[in-house]
């Protein structure tokens, strides 16, 4: 299988290299702390000894999304939907107050979901539970960490709490996923401590075109980066506002150094397979499942297509499991006014 050689080139030591990179930064931070010059924009350095467990380290936070790969995270609003998702083979669920499609329609301020609902979902299913917080809303994130959600999505689907800053995610024991439209956004979020990136797409539209665009942009920027001279990479790092070390790792492994899912507008098995073909490690499906008229079959079909995307026979089988007449109708992106776009929030 050619895929093995392709993946081999990216998995030389990619995971540990990324973690080592952050720990090298934290060694510097530790020295500054010793001199009473507090420097919190790095992960804490774990000190392992026999018989002692260190929880919430960078290794476990960045390791968690690896076990979501080739899977589907599904948006749900209650326990019943979460159980359908688990039964259909989702790798995790994202609990929301309203599906993105309804957030878009209802207007007003969109906030994090009700902790009571999240708690109820957590006590009824065995797969990981994620929930969204507003961009920059440290306290919503603290509440979700306390509650015990497995991953926090600092999401542009909710109304941003801070127009210009994101949460310092190194201060949490729970991993974060963030949205990105291009390489700069992705690497800035990783610098802030995100363990996973999802391309933003345009949530709640049932239209995959923006997700495709964002994945294409990230791919072509990485391709360009991997052929650049050192001097140009340094210039690029400066322009993107991130550390050269992170730019170099990305250039070397020719992909984002964290797990990268696709999101925003995925509504059918074919959409999911398309995003996988473009290089996504898995997909988030928001309104696409529970705004359709065949959620169970559609959820199962998208799970199959995401896992077996490279086998046209299986993608066809998946596509036959749903009927197009039951898909969510969707929104043409060109009909949306600039202020109605969610993707431009938090760059």
């Amino acid at each position: 299988m050619d895929m093995i050689n392709y993946y081999l080139s990216m998995h030389e030591v990619a995971f540990e290299e990324l973690v080592d990179y952050f720990y090298r930064l934290s060694e510097i931070a530790d020295r500054l702390r010793d001199e009473d010059r507090l420097f919190e924009y790095t992960p804490p350095m774990p000190r392992l000894t026999r018989g002692k467990y260190v929880a919430g380290t960078t290794t476990v936070k960045h390791g968690f999304p690896i076990f979501q790969k080739y899977g589907v995270c599904m948006d749900v609003t209650n326990v019943e939907q979460a159980q359908v998702a688990e039964e259909a083979g989702a790798v995790s669920v994202m609990v929301l107050d309203k599906l993105p499609y309804d957030v878009r329609r209802s207007g007003g301020v969109a906030r994090m979901a009700d902790p009571k609902v999240i708690e109820e979902v957590m006590s009824h299913i065995t797969i990981p539970v994620m929930a969204k917080v507003r961009i920059g809303h440290y306290m919503e994130a603290k509440i979700l960490e306390e509650l015990g959600v497995d991953m926090i999505d600092e999401s542009e689907v909710l109304t941003p709490a801070d127009d210009t800053r994101h949460i310092n995610k190194w201060l949490f024991k729970v991993p974060f996923v963030n949205g990105a439209r291009d390489l700069g956004e992705a690497l800035r979020r990783i610098t802030e401590g995100a363990s996973m990136i999802r391309t933003k797409g345009e949530a709640g539209t049932g239209n995959v075109s923006e997700a495709v665009k964002h994945m294409r942009i990230i791919r072509s920027e990485i391709n360009r980066l991997s052929k650049m001279d050192m001097e140009d990479r340094m210039k690029m790092a400066r322009e993107l506002g991130v550390d050269i070390g992170l730019v170099d790792i990305t250039a070397k492994i020719r992909r984002l150094p964290v797990v990268n899912f696709a999101a925003g507008g995925i509504a059918t098995p074919a959409d999911a397979a398309l995003m996988m073909w473009l290089g996504a490690d898995g997909v988030f499906v928001g309104s696409g499942i529970f705004k359709s008229k065949d959620p169970m079959q559609r959820a199962q079909a998208i799970v199959l297509a995401t896992s077996m995307w490279y086998d046209p026979d299986k993608v066809l089988e998946a596509q036959k499991m749903i009927s197009e007449s039951k898909s969510m109708v969707g929104i043409d992106i060109r009909q949306l006014k600039p202020e109605e776009l969610m993707q431009t929030r938090g760059i």
């Binding site: 093995i4 476990v60 076990f67 083979g89 299913i125 015990g148 799970v303």
Partner: protein, 202 residues
């Protein structure tokens, strides 16, 4: 040795580095194949069932008609390594520490009961140094992510590592399971142990 990795969901390609390094260090011819079809089982001598979500992998196995062929492959005595979710799938029983009994497809080949999410949720995921029976070279940096623990339900199960009295690594004949993730470290001693199991069985 021709090693297959069950390629449905989870940390599949993360094993490539450790396998290649182990082949070189042990000086043996090695091949790696990603298994997604029952036909692939004819071309391999051992299999890794990787970490991921056990419910997802189990359901995909059923849908793709892999469950029975895989079970036969393992009960035929082929060397098998189950990591975290992979270990749960190999178990005869699985329960969730919080939710309780769960309906999920299992391969039903190892005499253990897997208690899923035993250590709690992701914020309780941790790393530690672990003593492993029969592993030379000092303690092993073990990374536990929403990890299960195992209860042996037969005395054929050999206990290889325990944490607070709970079993986290075990072997029964040709099957080796860990509830932690050797593929997330640079240490390939557990992959070597798996390959040596195959060599010694021949």
């Amino acid at each position: 040795m021709r090693v297959g990795i069950l390629g449905l969901q989870g940390g599949i390609y993360e094993h490539l580095y450790h396998l290649k390094k182990s082949f070189t260090e042990l000086g043996i011819e090695g091949e790696i194949k990603v298994v997604t079809d029952k036909g692939d089982l004819n071309d391999i001598d051992g299999i890794i069932i990787p970490g991921g979500e056990s419910t997802t992998i189990g359901r995909l196995m059923n849908r793709l008609g892999l469950t029975e062929p895989l079970r036969r492959f393992i009960t035929d005595g082929n060397t098998t390594l189950g990591i975290c979710a992979g270990a749960i799938l190999l178990a005869k029983e699985a329960v969730d520490a919080k939710v309780g009994s769960v309906q999920q497809p299992l391969l039903n080949v190892m005499n253990i009961r897997a208690i899923r999410n035993y250590f709690g949720r992701q914020k309780n995921s941790f790393e530690t140094l672990l003593e492993i029976k029969g592993l030379e070279g000092g303690p092993y940096k073990a990374i536990f992510i929403r990890a299960p623990v195992f209860q042996p339900i037969s005395n054929k199960v050999e206990e290889l590592a325990k944490l607070d009295g709970k079993l986290v690594m075990a072997r029964e004949e040709n099957i080796l399971v860990t509830s932690f993730h050797p593929e997330l470290t640079r240490d390939n001693r557990i992959h070597k142990m798996f390959i040596n199991m195959h060599i010694n069985e021949k």
